[in-house]
């Protein structure tokens, strides 16, 4: 089996938001909608204050609550672990959005543009997709790139043409993408060498993004 998943090394992320920009460029999301965003989390109290940059988005859960509640089957989990939305079926009821513990889903009911005057600039006009209006949208792990890459014999997570845009764009190499079920994938090897966690794992969603926070202690 294949389970595409992602590892994000929190030690490396410097909050530059290049992944966010790359995602927006690749997927043409409207203003205010970021399928990939980087949280800037401050914690603790002086003098023990910490600042952590945390990229978040759809976790492509193994047991996705959004898929269970979706009344239309627009949200589906593919055999390779990707959670997808069929915009032609979705009714925009928002049930998936309240079921998602990662706040990863967005529903936009009217067009908004970067310069806010109600007029799209040329690039927005060219890439506007009426199909995505008033339906749920979210990170797809760039499934079109993955699928096209696979058709051309490429390996997601290895070949950039078959790898999500955020992973390609990361300037610090914090992102690693690949098949979690393949013990020889870079992802699996990295997860074997590091300490990592998954967000809100206690909710039983089996999320597909692993956050690396330390190296494994040498035995």
């Amino acid at each position: 089996m294949t389970r595409y998943a992602m590892a994000i090394d929190l030690r490396r992320c410097n909050g530059c938001q290049t992944c966010t920009t790359a995602c927006r460029h690749a997927n043409a999301t409207p203003p205010g909608v970021q399928w990939r965003q980087v949280l800037d989390m401050e914690s603790g109290e002086y003098p023990e204050v910490r600042r952590t940059f945390v990229p978040v988005g759809c976790m492509h859960c193994g047991d996705p609550p959004c898929e269970h509640v979706c009344p239309t089957t627009a949200t589906k989990k593919r055999a390779d672990g990707l959670v997808t939305i069929d915009y032609d079926i979705c009714i925009g009821c928002g049930y998936c959005a309240v079921a998602c513990p990662y706040q990863a889903r967005h529903i936009v009911h009217r067009n908004t543009f970067a310069f806010g005057d109600g007029r799209a600039i040329a690039s927005e006009q060219a890439r506007m997709d009426p199909e995505r209006m008033s339906v749920a949208t979210k990170c797809t792990f760039c499934k079109d790139r993955i699928d096209a890459g696979l058709e051309n014999g490429l390996t997601p997570g290895v070949d950039p043409e078959a790898t999500p845009a955020c992973v390609n764009a990361c300037i610090t190499g914090a992102y690693v993408f690949g098949d979690r079920d393949d013990p020889n994938s870079k992802l699996s090897k990295l997860l074997g060498q590091t300490e990592h966690f998954r967000m809100h794992e206690e909710l039983g969603t089996d999320p597909g993004i692993h956050y690396i926070w330390d190296s494994k202690a040498a035995t």
């Binding site: 090394d9 929190l10 030690r11 205010g32 970021q34 965003q37 980087v38 949280l39 800037d40 989390m41 401050e42 914690s43 603790g44 109290e45 023990e48 204050v49 910490r50 952590t52 945390v54 978040v56 609550p65 898929e67 269970h68 509640v69 979706c70 009344p71 239309t72 089957t73 627009a74 079926i89 979705c90 009714i91 925009g92 009821c93 928002g94 049930y95 959005a97 309240v98 079921a99 998602c100 513990p101 990662y102 706040q103 529903i107 009911h109 209006m133 008033s134 339906v135 300490e195 966690f197 967000m199 809100h200 909710l203 969603t205 956050y211 690396i212 926070w213 330390d214 190296s215």
Partner: protein, 306 residues
Amino acid sequence: MSQPSGQSGHAGKSGRIAPWHQSNWDLRAAGNFVFGGAGTGLIIFAGIGHAFGAAYVLPALIGLALVGAGLLCVWAEIGRPLRAVNVYLHPQSSWMTREAMVAPFLFASGLAAAWTGRQTLIWTVAALALVYLTCQAQMIKASRGIPAWRSPRMVPLAMLTGLCEGASLAILVAAATADRAYLQWIEAFLLALALARGLAWYAYRSGLQHEGAPAKALAALARIELPFSILGNWVPLVLLFIALASSSANVVFWLGVISALAVLGSGWLFKVVLITRAAYNQGFALPQLPVRGSGNGGRATKPGWD
């Protein structure tokens, strides 16, 4: 002790960390639970009332109208209303689909029961109404992204709230139609249900405290302790007790009506608050902070939670 600050380096919608209120379901969605719960409750009590010799048609039709109003609210909420029929595609796991599937049978059998007055149909409608109410309660609980909704104690609380509202409406209909013989029976039902709802409310809130929930969600629920629990549940419960102990028809009538209005209003308030005020999402949390340089990883952080 180190405390998470929950501060975000960003303003605006993106970059929020501590739980914020969901913005996908508003008063229209709350309307489905308000009208659907009260309507199905009334349909159930119309059936029970019929067994006690009370009139069936009026309360049953009011109940169906309320359920219809709730469904209209949902229809007004969805982004693509012309595709609404797609809601029927996922009965395997979606409680929203299941609710939608019960609805046409509820309306068809309800109208048939009102038309024919056949006892078997009346009980069938009551059973369908109970299934519909169950779907609504389960629908809220299945929303795993909202801590105040996903509690397992939500199901009995939401169902008891709907039944209380139904019994309250049944009292109001019986009072309005001078069906006073039935009034005491239904008041006894409401007394028992209000007692159960009061206990379910405390079990739900203590469960949330125990399991953990966003501080703002707990605060929103705490704010309705007086109007919902005290004035809307325990005071009516005492009034109903007095009414049932009284031999005066006027006391039975007026205390019943006052109690019914209080229980009905508080139930609707609870649902509106639950959907539009207490529905804070999960937010973001880190069970471990990353190791930087030669230092250690920091403490876990979960901003905005009690």
